[in-house]
Subunit: 216 residues, 2 copies
């Protein structure tokens, strides 16, 4: 792929990108759908940047309870140092949702001064700052959603975010089952609530197509 298409390398020549790959200890890997991009039990301090495709971060606790922690698409950044301290020792993995390409960078190399003090290096740090800022934004957004008390409020808030992005009529960017995991609700309870929301005239829903009818 052309690296220059991705934010991360904005303003950096392809030549310099390749040069930096060494200075950063960067490696690009491809994964097919369903493959494990990384397992947080053994990644160390690597930071991953999604260059192409999409993936999701899945936590499975000791009871087999599955939760979608994050969703990643091109330009998103992830890694254990950017995630959480896995207190409970749950299994946490990043799984490819589609075929994807990921660049892994040693975290220590990012903030460490490049001996050559190369311009592209600091440029990349700047760019990465932008990516991670975007990440905090989406994490905050997720917290906003989860902070709502009822399932209905969670859904409405999420739908409003989507509506703002794609218009009042949009497609769910994930499966319904995944949506339940995303808002941390029971799937059947969520489905039930979605029905009620249609009855109450808040939304219209047909498969993944959703139309937001009210803004409150």
């Amino acid at each position: 792929m052309k690296y220059s298409e991705i934010n991360l390398f904005e303003g950096i020549s392809e030549e310099d990108v390749n040069r930096m790959a060494i200075c950063f200890g960067a490696k690009v890997k491809k994964f097919r759908e369903g493959a494990t991009v990384c397992d947080y039990s053994d990644t160390g301090d690597d930071v991953g940047v999604m260059l192409e495709g999409s993936a999701s971060m899945i936590r499975t606790d000791e009871n087999g309870e599955v939760a979608v922690m994050e969703l990643f698409s091109a330009g998103d950044i992830f890694g254990e140092v950017l995630a959480f301290s896995n207190e409970a020792g749950d299994s946490v993995k990043v799984v490819a949702e589609s075929e994807c390409e990921v660049m892994f960078i040693k975290y220590g190399q990012i903030t460490k001064r490049c001996e050559k003090a190369c311009e592209p290096h600091s440029r990349l740090v700047s760019n990465m700052f932008g990516l991670i800022a975007k990440k905090t934004l989406s994490l905050s957004q997720r917290i906003e959603i989860l902070s709502k008390k009822t399932t209905r409020d969670k859904l409405m808030y999420y739908f409003q975010i989507l509506a703002k992005r794609y218009g009042e009529e949009f497609d769910l960017p994930m499966s319904v089952t995944m949506l339940a995991a995303y808002i941390c609700a029971d799937r059947s309870a969520m489905t039930r609530e979605l029905s009620r929301m249609q009855v109450d005239g808040l939304i219209e829903m047909n498969k993944k197509r959703i139309k937001l009818k009210k803004v409150a």
Copy 2:
């Protein structure tokens, strides 16, 4: 205060810090307890770095529902661009929990190349990268907590985080009322659950002093 004590300026001389303050359009302000550090309805793109003291980000929705979104102490970084898209138009403020000192930086100035390509500038960007990485970590942790389905699980997970940090016996870093807001639960329901947890021998609690008795 001595700026060199704070991560943000690690490896940068005090002299350079002052020089950069101009190049970054940085301003340091002090706030007394209870004062509004910033209101997300009119901050624009400023990024705040907490130099001293602590503050909390509070959201109040149209129903007067109050939620603690984040807690900030020295070294923490915050700002609208690092937060969320306030879809519902709720009131969101950062309020000083104690007397505090905050440095405000124009977000655009951070990633923008410094004309003088000054070394300290890129150094600071590196440092800020570290701060924001720490932020994503605490946000992720909060999501972990909120993703638990029952109040008991939320509390236990949070207590485990605290226990890991301070030992199995520790003081709550916030009031009980605030804790309820933090885990997004009803205060009375949470208090009830805390009682049950004591009866069930999971914790011992005396005022803000908590002892974690089991790890599950």
